[in-house]
Amino acid sequence: MEALNYFATSWTSLDLLALTALGTFLGVYIGAIPGLSVTMAVSILISFTFSWDVNNALCLMVGIFMGGVYGGSRTAILLNIPGAPSAIATALDGYPMALKGEAGEAIGLSTVMSVIGGFVGIIVLALAAPVVSEFALKFQPRDYLMLGILGIMLVGSLSGNNLTKGVFAGAFGMLIGTVGLDPLTAEERFTFGVVELWNGINPIAVMIGLFGVSEALTQLHYMNKAAIKQKIDRIIPRWADVKKYLPLSLQTSSIGVIVGALPGTGGDIAALLAYDHAKRVTKNPEVPFGQGAKEGLIAPEAANNAAVGGAYIPMLTLGIPGDAVTAVFLGALFIHGLNPGPLLLTENPQMFWFTVGNLALANIFVLIFGLTGIKLFSKIVECPKGILIPLILLLSVVGAYAINNSIADIWWMLGFGVIGYFMKQYDYQVGPVILGVILSRLMDENWRRSIISERESLPDFFINLLSSPLSLVLFISILLIFISQTPIWARAKAMVFK
């Protein structure tokens, strides 16, 4: 009963309700602008809300988190510029839908599925947080390595019709990811003595360049192509559609919760793995993947919003952040005099249920703010090129600068924009590049950590891999996915089912 009381705190107070709504509204727009990240917004709010009551401050921040994760899909669908790395997979099928004049439908569907994903995350947080966090803690460096390998196999899905070019692009991305101080030994790699390169090339700058600027340049190239007329009669998705895709969105939401709860991975990897999952389980999509398949839009959107609840799981139960944003939340709780840690649940049980309730409330506001204003937004794509292209470039520059208040990031972003343009001209997909950038560090670090802890013995590495149930499951799924894509499998299947 008490729990219900705490749960409803933010629902029954007008102040908290309004702050959550305001946060969610701002979040949707902050999330939509590439470079303006939820992490940044929340950390600025820490000093801004310093003197506030802790509940008020949290409501505003939770709203921004929930709205921001959703908002990243907006620009991904409309302009092919993901607002955040977790919306990269959304652009793959969302933008082709917009090109066909279905932007309104795409946003409507992604909103509903985001909200469903969000609720799955919240429900798991509310009912199974301790269990999930103990499970997430079981992941060893080798398991993270295998998640990375699972992710990198997505190159196959992202390569378009030429795998060789896709592998090349992916390898290029991994190379970019290695620039900077070696995460393990702090030796400089490809930095040429430049201090600004110590932290590596920011993946977000690469992403904005490859998607945003290259899109603007490509549009300049095809200046005479008329803008696509958007059908905006149907915004709220058909009930039949929601029902049809519900199983898929529940599956990918579960992926989102687990990957979000892992302290070493966040919504970006969750969304990519979800996209891959959708591609494998959907036997006969109405539209092929990459050309506007609704499944390809739903999967990452459900997963990245489910990852929000997931990220809160280790944070609220163990004081371990599940991603960058929850790390900032931990700082906020400290500043407000709470002691987030494994004892939070027993010392301040109200905090847990308050957060669960507040997340649920913010998720409802996502639905409201997501479904309103779509008509206006869809018009963006219909804008004359003379307005649209400068707008994209402006957004890209502002976004790149905002990542770290650094001019260097703007140059990187522009450079990758030009590279992206030529890649598109020569039929190379840009998706694998960003995949390589995101995953190279995860794989690099965890491969080396796991081999160091085996005293550099490969046999020991495999013995431990095969004797741990978790590692074994991951390993077998990698093998199965790999083999199922080879001709041997097709032949074997043909023989069995003859």
Binding site: T39, M40, V42, S43, I46, S47, F50, S51, L137, K138, F139, Q140, P141, L181, P183, L184, T185, A186, V195, E196, W198, N199, P263, G264, L318, G319, I320, P321, A324, A327, V328, F329, L330, G331, F334, I335, G337, N339, P340, G341, P342, L343, N404, N405, S406, E445, R449, I452, S453, R455
Partner: protein, 334 residues
């Protein structure tokens, strides 16, 4: 005519008084910029964002804080150094710059800055996985000797707290440990709970909540005296008296301005942060996180900074992972 002259004279005088009349008599005249060396949500960030609002009240202007991460804090340090020495740009940092010269990371350290306030110091401890077959430093070193290479120790890269504390231990007893690097003590302490690591030297504040909840155990306290937060844990100097030549030592948080900032501005900032660091909320926060409040400026702060630099630079040099000898920079042996 005379009247006109007079007016001109008055105007000129007034203008002069604005320019010359020590602009700093009324420091600060505009908002101040605070540059934080580490990322949002980290301990430096948390400390700075919780003390600064109290200092703003004293100064009557806003202190706008931004995180400029990268190069173990060197990006922010260089950024502030490139600004005018007028007191309007503050460097909010941790201990790292004191090692830049020896590690070959930069030609700057806190010797190029004036301390406004060294707010607090962290206390290093050794924590271990609950299942580890040892409960104190003595048992740990004996176990590690008997099982060379079998104990997995987390570290946070060269020059980090763990590397220095391990180098201190190495100067007392030679052990064959397997070092596994993580990006910061947060991820490493998570790995300790997952069993990927056996032992981790960390700052008390980062581990205390996990210790209280019984998710890991403390096996050593790297200080000269016992700590109220860790009842029953004896200081490391009892088992290894040689440690006392390095202690007390610990990572710290401080606010700095570039050298040659006008004295009036420095005094004003020192006074503001001195009052801010006495705020009960801030003290409570620091105590809970296991940091000991220092709240010092002037010669006292400089002495602490120099000692820190000497101890850390030489221990790292003697352990063999410095790029340059501390001697080159005239850093005396402790």
């Amino acid at each position: 005519m005379g009247v006109v002259m007079n007016k001109r004279l008055i105007c000129a005088l007034a203008a002069l008084s604005i320019i010359a009349a020590p602009a700093f008599a009324e420091f600060p005249k505009k908002d101040i910029q605070g540059v934080i060396q580490w990322g949002a949500g980290g301990s430096t960030d948390t400390v700075m964002r919780s003390v600064t609002p109290h200092a703003e009240k004293e100064l009557g202007v806003d202190i706008v804080m931004t995180n400029r991460t990268g190069g173990v804090g060197a990006i922010a340090t260089k950024f502030v150094y490139a600004k005018k020495a007028d007191g309007y740009t503050l460097l909010m940092g941790a201990e790292n710059p004191q090692m830049y010269k020896t590690l070959g990371l930069a030609n700057l350290d806190y010797g190029d800055f004036t301390p406004i306030n060294i707010l607090a110091r962290g206390i290093p401890i050794f924590v271990a996985n609950n299942d580890a077959p040892f409960n104190n430093m003595k048992e740990f070193t004996e176990y590690a000797k008997a099982n060379p290479g079998m104990v997995k120790v987390g570290s946070t890269g060269p020059g980090g707290l763990t590397s220095i504390v391990l180098a201190m231990l190495d100067s007392q007893v030679k052990l064959d440990l397997t070092n596994i690097p993580y990006n910061g003590d947060g991820p490493a302490l998570t790995a300790l709970q997952s069993g990927a690591l056996d032992v981790m030297p960390a700052v008390l504040g980062a581990a205390i909540e996990h210790v209280k909840a019984g998710r890991m155990k403390v096996i050593g306290l790297v200080d000269v005296k016992t700590n109220d937060l860790l009842p029953g844990v004896s200081p490391i100097t009892e088992d290894f008296p040689g440690f006392s030549s390095f202690l007390p030592w610990g990572p710290f948080f401080g606010v700095f301005v570039k050298n040659d900032t006008p004295k009036a501005a420095v005094d004003k900032l020192v006074a503001a942060y001195h009052t801010a660091a006495q705020n009960p909320d801030f003290i409570d926060l620091m105590n809970k996180r296991g940091f000991s409040i220092m709240n010092v400026a002037g010669p006292e702060a400089e002495k602490f900074l120099n000692t820190y630099r000497s101890v850390s630079s030489w221990i790292v040099h003697d352990a063999g992972f410095s790029k340059k000898s501390p001697e080159e920079f005239g850093i005396p042996r402790p």
